[in-house]
């Protein structure tokens, strides 16, 4: 295994070090930071917007670019959170908890510098772990059959819902089902039957995943900036940040480095869990640091604590790298953004999953190795450029929103050259806005949509192999193991609910006893 790994790493280094691919990493980080920094736009939008560009590239260069966009956007989102308290997505909310107060106390440069160092450290440590864990898992996964894949996809979709948070499990599951429903539109690949096409030629090939991603994220987010009258950037003065302000003292480094180390490990392992992603990584890292901090330091949390800023920033970057493990080894996306990247892989004709490790080591290893480079670029490029990047936040929304809408529509049109797609995008955008107003999450929908076709194929194949019996769900130990994990993951929200209920009951009884004693 070690020989294969070293050979793979060499392949990855060779592929990444091609000047064109270095330029792609650089461009990806730059574009990701740029888009991620715009208020209201997160990494899913950033990756979706850049996908059309990658269609003109070979798969390795394209994926390297998208990976760069992903962590660039996470970093950009943190900058936006720290400076104007407008997190582009949930993963950077925890960063704003202490980053924004620190910026308000007159240390915006320090807050941004700590975020940059924490991102770099979290990203780099997680990539080292990714390098070891991904091939190990891929080696195990090469023995997977259709039944195992089907079970894995069920696990991935269930996990997305299980980590949706209190009151969100059923809604996330419902959105997964809606995504699966949308994936059935078009011609059934096995029988050639048309499903839900309503006689339209344009729907014969089904719904383009890029179209759905752009409509549900990029277009919708841009329109929500208008709907919510988001004027968070209006009062921002970019001149308030000076390069001289970006200094972090030795004492401050000493204070934050244990937090960075702990959060890197925690973030990575949370990222590996399908469906957990960067949001959970950042919040859990923040929670862990607050619990571990001495009482004096604990009081500073939420008021500009350096540890409170470094921990979630490290956690979300480490989790972002961790979410590549299930994507690259099992073909199961760990988050909404990696779901969009999975769609890009499928569009390249690459079958995601453990075979990718064997069939396309150039893509597999190039993505991993490019992350080292990307993290270095983000640090050395973004740190001195922060004051200039921050000027982006001052772009008025009356120019920014039409430009985002234009690039989203063009992103799809310039790939398909079909004006019907623009109409479809508008239709899905309206539907997505309605669903979001009804408090329904969108990322599970995209995940369900992307995995839908693969899931149906694997289920059909498993049934054929097992003579149309459902026994494939438990006959192989691996399948059984995955299914048991699914049941456990699915039960988690209910277990949490029961524990919370019992706790509140006990608290009520205690209160009653105390009242009686009085």
């Amino acid at each position: 295994m070690w020989d294969g790994m070293i050979n793979g790493m060499m392949t990855g280094i060779t592929t990444t070090m091609i000047p064109f691919n270095i330029a792609m990493v650089l461009f990806g980080c730059f574009a990701g930071s740029f888009i991620g920094m715009l208020p209201g736009l997160g990494p899913i939008t950033a990756v979706a917007l850049l996908i059309p560009v990658t269609y003109a590239l070979d798969p390795a260069s394209g994926m390297v670019l998208l990976a760069g966009v992903y962590y660039g956007a996470i970093f950009g989102g943190s900058t936006c959170s720290i400076l104007i308290n407008a997190p582009g997505e949930a993963a950077t909310v925890a960063t704003a908890l202490d980053g924004y107060p620190l910026a308000r106390q007159g240390h915006p440069g320090k807050a941004l510098a700590i975020a940059a160092y924490a991102s770099f450290s979290g990203g780099t440590i997680a990539v080292i772990m990714l390098m070891f864990f991904a091939p190990m898992l891929a080696n195990v996964a090469t023995s997977f059959q259709s039944a195992d894949y089907f079970a894995l996809m069920i696990l991935g979709l269930t996990a997305v819902s299980a980590f949706a948070g209190r009151g969100g499990v059923l809604k996330a599951l419902l959105m997964v089902v809606l995504g699966l429903m949308l994936s059935t539109v078009g011609t059934d690949q096995t029988s050639g039957t048309q499903r839900f096409t309503f006689g339209s030629l344009e729907l014969l090939d089904g719904i383009e995943f890029l179209l759905l991603a752009m409509a549900t994220f990029a277009l919708t987010e841009a329109l929500f900036i208008i709907l919510n009258k988001d004027a968070s950037s209006d009062s921002f003065d970019p001149k308030s940040i000076g390069i001289s302000n970006l200094k972090v003292t030795k004492k401050e480094f000493k204070l934050i480095y244990p937090s960075i180390l702990r959060s890197s490990f925690l973030g990575f392992f949370i990222g590996v869990l399908p469906g957990a992603g960067a949001t959970l990584g950042s919040f859990m890292s923040y929670g862990m640091e607050r619990n571990l901090a001495p009482p004096e330091e604990q009081k500073k949390f939420g008021k500009g604590s350096l540890r409170g800023l470094a921990a979630p920033e490290t956690g979300n970057n480490a989790a972002s790298s961790g979410s590549f493990v299930p994507l690259l080894t099992l073909g199961i996306p760990g988050s909404g953004t990696t779901a969009v990247m999975l769609g890009a892989l499928i569009a390249y004709g690459i079958e995601p999953g453990p075979r990718m490790f064997i069939d396309r080591p150039d893509v597999f290893w190039a993505v991993i190795m490019s992350m080292y480079l990307g993290n270095v670029f983000l640090l050395i490029l973004n740190l001195p450029l922060i004051p200039y990047f921050a000027r982006l936040l001052a772009i008025p929304r009356n120019l920014m929103v039409p430009i985002i809408l234009f690039f989203s529509l063009m992103g799809v049109y310039l790939v398909t050259f079909n004006d019907f797609d623009i109409m479809m995008m508008v239709f899905f955008c309206i539907a997505a806005m309605a669903l979001r107003l009804m408090n329904m999450p969108m990322a599970p929908l995209l995940l369900g949509f992307i995995l839908g076709g693969l899931m149906e194929d694997n289920l059909r194949r498993s049934l054929m192999i097992f003579d149309e019996s459902m026994s494939f769900m438990w006959e192989r130990p691996i399948t059984l193991g995955i299914n048991i994990t699914t049941i456990i993951v699915f039960s988690l929200p209910f277990i949490r609910y029961m524990i919370a209920k019992r706790k509140s009951k006990t608290a009520k009884v205690d209160e009653g006893v105390a009242a009686e004693a009085k």
Binding site: G167, R195, I226, N398, L399, P402, L459
Partner: protein, 159 residues
Amino acid sequence: MAREKVGALVMLLFSIAYGLLATKIPLSFLAQQETFTSRTMPYALAVMGGILSFLILVLPTVNPSGKKTLSEETRGMEWSTAILLVAMMLVYGLIMKWLGFILASIIFLLAGFYILGERRIQRMLFTAVLLVVGLWGIMSMLLGVYIAPGEIFYQLGIL
């Protein structure tokens, strides 16, 4: 009614409609003998969608933000601007074939800027023309992608 419940109701209706439409998926004689047909997955999804929507409808709403009604949630939102932008996107889709990429895109961007309150003509024109011509240049000259001109140029005999 809590907005989550409205969402669940909409999804329940959608699942029923989806399930009914699934019965219309054509099956050949041979396919009808199989256990797993083109209808199997849609049937299963319709049932799952129905059950989940029903559960959200009947179970109490836990999430405080989900308890808000739709009118509470949408109060104070800038609907007129958003609707105009959506209408503009539809118009953009309709005129794209006739006016071609460059003209349609410049009109879309100018209209978008105007709808959002920008009135500085020079800034609007500079941004729109620079973006569209820049993108057109990258696509057709750098990447070699052919972008067809609008029908109107053929109708007018310009091309």
